[in-house]
Structure formats: C-alpha cells, structure tokens
Amino acid sequence: MTWETVIGLEIHAQLATASKIFSGASTKYGAAPNTQASLVDLGYPGVLPVLNGDAVRMAVKFGLATHCKIAQRSIFARKNYFYPDLPKGYQISQYELPIVHGGHVDVQLPDGSTRHVNIVRAHLEEDAGKSLHEDFAGMSGIDLNRAGTGLLEIVSAPDMRSAQEAGAYMRKIHALVRYLEICDGNLQEGSFRCDANVSVRRVGDTKLGTRTELKNLNSFRFVEKAIEIERDRQIELIEGGGKVTQETRLFDPDREETRPMRSKEEANDYRYFPDPDLLPIAVDDALIERVRATLPELPDAKRERFTNAYSLSAYDADVLTVDKRLADYFEAVVKATKAAPKIAANWVMGELTGALNRTNVDIDASRVSAATLAALLDKIEAGTISGKIAKEVFEAVWNGEGSVDAVIEKRGLVQISDTGAIDKLVAEVIAANAAQVEQFRAGKQQVLGFLVGQVMKMSKGKANPQQVNEALRKQLGA
C-alpha cells in the first residue's frame, strides 16, 4: 500500500517593529525579564491597545509579495484561553476577517520542479510571554517581555506532499520575510516559528486523513525530521488497524519522536469574538500603493535575473539569492571587478561564505568587503596572482593583515611571469625528473601535469601555470 503525506504549515513571523503591536514597549530581544512589559502587555485593568501602523504595513507588504488579497476592512478578535504567559486571558488575534488572504508562492524543489503552495491567510496577532519551568521548585517563572510582540501568522493550504516540500516552503517564506524586512528570521531567538499539520492517506484518496498538529519545530531540519517521524507513526498506526486522533503533538528532537501534548480536552474552544477595544483596520488603495512602492526585488525575480544577466546556473542563483544581503554583496563584487560573474559567484559562495560561517560573522560585518574581493579578483584576472595564491591573500586580508596589495607585497606573492625565470625553473625540473620526462616522451601525456606541479611547487605556487605549461612543452619538444 502506498501512502501520501499531506502537510500544511502555520508560520509565526515576529514583526520587525521597534515597539509592540498594541503598546509602546520595546521588542528588543534579550532584555532582563519583564523590563519590556508595559501596562498594556501586562493586561492591567483600564488600559487600551493602540495599533502599531507599521505592523499593518508589514502585513500588507507580505500580502502583496505573495499575490494575496488585502482586506479593506479586517477585524481583531479575542482568542480566549488561560495560561500564565497570557496575562489578559485572551490573545488579540484575527479570526473571521484576516488582513490578508488567498495568495500563493511557488516553491522550487531540489529536483528542479516547482510546487505551487496556496496561502490561505495571514493575520496579525500578539505573541505571548515565556514560561521558565526549570529553576523554581513547584513554580514556573514568567517573563512577559515577549507578550504583545507583533506576529504575522501565515497559514498555508495543505498543499505539500513531503517533508522536503514543507522544508522548502518554510525556507521560501523565511527568505521572503527577510527580503521584505518585516521579520529578522532568527530561528534561534524564536522570531520565526512553525507548526505543521500532518496527515496521511492512501494514494488516490481524495478525502484528507485525520491530521495532527506538530509544535516546537524551530529549525528547517526539525520540520523535515518531525514530519517524517509523524508520517511513519501515522502509517504504522493505520496499517496496524488503529486510527489517528486529531491532537497536538510535540516534537522531541533528542528522542526523535512526537508525543501528545498535555491533554487539554477543551483547548480548542477559544470562544473567539470581535475585540471591543479595537476598531476595524481600514486599508485603502492609497496605503496599498504606498506599501507597493517599498517592495524590493523579490527572490524569484532576482534569481531569474541572476541566471539571465550573469549566466549563472539555477543552483548558483538560488544560493546567492536566499539572503538579500548576500545577493547585494555578489552584485557589488560583479560591478566592481573585471572578472566574470561566475568567478565572483564561486568566490562569494566558496571563500566568503566559508569564512563567514567559520568565524560566525554576519555578512554585514564581513571582514572582506565587496570592493576588496573585487580588487582581489582583478589581481587574478590581470595575472598578478594565481587563483590558488588568491585564496592565501583572501585568508590574510580576512585575518586583518592589510589590503590585497599590501598582503601580496609583504608576502612576496606576485606571480612569476618572467619568461627567463620560468624557463630556469622548468629546466631544473626536467633535469631532476628524468624518469617522468622519459615517460612523457614515450607518449604518456598525463605526466605533463605532474611536471607542471613540480614547477609550481618549486615556485611556491607563484609561477604562472599557463606559462609553465608552455615552457615545459617547448623544452620537451612536444
């Protein structure tokens, strides 16, 4: 029996506003507990929420970027439940009339195909606080700094059919919200969170199976892993004659299992009703057009342009456009260098990304600027240094040893292009490797590579490889 997995994701993107969605408290991450919780966030009696205009504009921006309809009038509702990290006893959310609905994104999959994923809705809501359960005997500690931070909850249709597709969709939305600068996308800090609705059905069935909701998926890898584990659990259950129960399950990455969350029998009775403290959000055409004017070139368009304008492969264009800042860096290098875009792409994806990852440095703080990398590539292009030596120069510049010119000068790395000097090196190598020379003359062409290598080694990598090649052939009479 073959099974099909059906997946829909709910993504919570924390809005990159300076203040909270309904109060003037700061949203800055990492502050001391409860120092950023205002009277509104704490749910004191008599206070009223006042909506942050940027939160509205960010939601509209997301809607425009995902072909959604923007509601001219949308409503805030109260979602009622009791939990200590929710002081008011309700979360202000949107229910019947969300600000954004009915759009889609096209997700590129590793095999080159595309999955069209519908976005059912994206609505504004406030985040809850954080509970710390470990440090207090029999008690939980509550930090309400996060309470009231603006969220955009992005709900997809159940359009994904594998864990990989779900992962690719999540990455796509992640790239998008960062391009739009509406969310910093920091998964470690919880700025970008995901729940997955997972069900299975027999291939050919049109009716959806009973789904479970997976929580606590705070990395791309976890989303894929958790869905695979849950899929296997459901299939095994059904094949063994059992039935899937609709419930919320928690993914435990250490034990590689999903398990039911504490049974909240009535957890889903949220008794939504329109929040009388807030008037409807009005979004007119003028506001939409103002927001539209701020839309950057989006990842899809950029990827397309990179493949066409710079003759890059789909893979290269993909890697370079995931992060807008990486794409900007690459383009700055291309504009400033005489080297081919493909060379620039290789360096940005290779040496630069490697160095950033290795040293855990953000691209904005890169120790080798785009202008510097361009200057380095020009040195290769001009034949001043070889590609191999350039890597050494890059490393030295990264480590703060000075400019490209200074490092080449100080370390004496200028490529040897002097014919006399190269001829001399070649002659020495021929004299020292009689056996190989004999093999080459007997017709074994590959030996030439070995001899070139010997000359390069003797020159400490500084000889111009092309000239070495020519000089060798000439002296060997080939």
Binding site: G24, A25, N34, N52, G53
Partner: protein, 94 residues
C-alpha cells in the same frame, strides 16, 4: 435549555468555581439569556454586514516608536510572588 454539564463546562472554560447548589440557578439565568438570543436570531439579517464595533470609524494607527520605559519594580508590587524579576506562578507543565 442549558443543562448542568453545559454549566460546568462553561465554568471550567471561564475558570469559575461553581458549587453544586449554584448550578441550577446559573442554568436558569443563562438559559433565559440564550432564549433572548434565540429571539434575536429570528430577525432576517441576510445582506447585513456583521458589525464589529458600534463606532463607525476605522482603527487609529500609532507610529512605531518605543514610548514605554522599564517600570517593572512598580508593576510587580502587586504580584503574589516575584523572583529574579520573574512572576512566579504554580507550575504549569506536567
């Protein structure tokens, strides 16, 4: 008519402690309210946009500016228990 189970469930959802003797009274009173709502539902509202708020005007938008300062010590004065600046509550996880 709301039965005792309905009343108990509503009270649980609202975190209200209701004694067995109060249930009958609550049931009668709430049922009369529901009956009134039933009466309202007889009105034909086809084509009427549901009202979200009695004021016919849109929500005012605030500029995204931090205006609140840290006053947690003052705010925490009426908390039952505070430790390391955290509000302490009975443990809420199994």
């Amino acid at each position: 008519m709301l039965g005792p189970d309905d009343i108990r469930r509503l009270c649980r959802l609202a975190r209200l402690d209701i004694s067995a003797t109060e249930i009958a009274d609550a049931s009668a009173k709430l049922s009369s309210i529901v009956a009134m709502v039933d009466q309202l539902q007889a009105v034909d509202t086809a084509g009427v946009v549901p009202m979200a708020h009695p004021l016919d005007r849109p929500q005012r938008l605030r500029a995204d500016v931090v205006t609140d300062v840290d006053r947690h010590e003052l705010y925490q004065r009426n908390a039952a228990q505070v430790e390391r600046d955290l509000y302490l509550v009975p443990k809420v996880i199994e």
